[in-house]
Amino acid sequence: MNIDIGKTIRMSDIIDARDGRSLIVDTTMASVIGATEGLEHVSEAIGSVNEFCDAVIVNPGTAEHHAPLLGGKNRATPVIRVDWTNAFRGEDFCLPATDVKRLMVSDGSDALELGASAVIASLLFGFDDDFESTNIRDLSHLARECQTLFLPLFVDIQPIGDRVSEENFEESIKLGCSFMLELGAEALLIPSCSAETLKFICDWMSVPVLVRQDTLPSKDEIEMIFENGAAGIVLSHRIFAQKNLSNEMEKIHWLIHEKEAVQ
């Protein structure tokens, strides 16, 4: 008897059980800076990628208001972001962040009631020690709650604080992965990094590793990511500004899920 069957089933909605791969789109930046280009109308935005990705990361409000669009056969399953930060409010936003804040806006049971197949929260790395410890405490509590709910926890590792430089960026990713593996995360999202670092992390981690991409990846980039052991790609909100997004998503979906099968 598998007592973890709830988690297994939910995870298989996100990472295709046939090939162990996943294509995910993240729409949640709208809770930080409002609607970005292409994300003005959520139903249209999700509609343009729904058929071609395995999961879509949404905020709780979006999950509730657009529930009829999400989940089911040939449609993306919702992964609910349960935290919020102003860390991504840059100078180009009307209210740039001067004091970085992070907080929890939902929890496992709320996400489960909203139909989530998983929850996601960020480890914002490289800020001051108090900030980091509070972040780790909140993620630990979430991990314990998700364990009791058999709800997978994805952690989005974001080495973006002042203490992160070009020199220690990739080592910071490794440190974040180590912490989150120990914490009990079921899957990790990491930023784009060198093939060497990606391979090191994927070989080491016993949980799926997915790579975040701000732009639509080329065929070579997709091959590099999967050859080095990653389980998937997470596309950021920026891809919604792309013209003919559905066509591009269809191609990426084919390269990730169907090319291998054809070969």
Binding site: T28, A30, S31, V32, I33, G34, A35, E40, H41, V42, N59, P60, G61, T62, E64, H65, W84, N86, F93, C94, L95, A97, T98, D99, V100, K101, R102, L103, M104, V105, S106, D107, D110, E113, L114
Partner: protein
Amino acid sequence: MSVYSGKTARLNRLFNPKDGRAVCVAADHGWMSDVTPNVVELARILKLVVEGGADGILISYGTALRLGHLMQGKDAPAVLIRADWMNMPRLGGSNVSNVLPAVNFRKMATSFARDALRVGASAITIYYFIGYSDEFEAINLEQAADFARECRKVGLPLIIEPMAVGGMVTGVNIAEILIASGRIATEIGADALKIPYTGDVKTFKKLVDQAGVPVLVLGGAKSDVPRDALELVDEALRAGAAGTVFGRNVTKAKDPKKMVADICALVHEGKSISDILEEKKEGFFRLKSDPDKCLGCRICETVCQRFHGDGYGQHLARLRIEFPEIGQELKPFKPVVCTLCEKCVIACPTGALKISGEGYLILDRELCTSCGECIAACPFNVMIPDEAGMPIFCDLCGGEPECVRWCKAEALTLVPKKKFITRN
């Protein structure tokens, strides 16, 4: 199959199912502001508000216990509970006097969603302050998220009220902040927004468009005249708003019942402001144009020159329609009219041009020297010389302007003119 939730049922009570719109009145000022007559006489005012036909009334928990009986019945207004408290009106800089001025901006969650359900609420309303500090915004969002979670559990709609206030907010970025904050509130879990007007139809339309939930425009401080408040409603509706939550403009009105009924006539019946206020009856008036409504048909120009018989050709009209230039970004048609600014009267060296006893421009042709000073002074270039060099100008057709009568798009209207600079 559609899933019928508690939220759906309660939103149906608030938003009229026929048009999806709602006229709400905020009557929670006694919970946060100083003791003003509208606070003291709340029971009498709320009775009038109910009689006026409001769809919802925003009150505090205590007021719901005390006066909730006024909102009994299927057609009575929905009860909206203010579930938080703040001290912004007492920080100074507002139009409310401060008996006990506050020093530090504070906001607290004061009721749970389940408390609001117990007093028969159809929704709760909470603030989301953005622009004061990152810390304060985070506190606001954390409270909003807590309410959102509880509201989902108990099936109670959550109305979030984004307020752009504080040192980080300027005249330049306020519209952008409001647009972003509306969407942020929705992403956190708002089922509807109560939000200030951005100042123009274009940016408010963007806000409504990106919010993704019904948007109710709030009225803010009491307007000097009812028309100003109704114009705000009219513009917000044209931008796609689902209705209003007006407070002081109703509760401090001379006749709260009529004010609510007037807003309902705009929101639910689609009546024009002029019809509602039955203007043109007494006092002075001037023309007002609305580029957003202008269709560019130029009938106003045609009827103007035909009515005055100055000759043939739209160039003789005493107003004009400006068109978007080819190759430039498409802008709305812009009717340019005489606003009775009186610059021409001031510029006239002989006193030939003046404001008549009825409140429109007249020319004493015997005093006019055709000097052209009035034409040069007109900031809108709506004065032209006749064959003798004397000015042709808008005379409001003697008080019943043909352009207004013929403009079916209501891009041209008559609005009250309070006073003249040059007329005794």
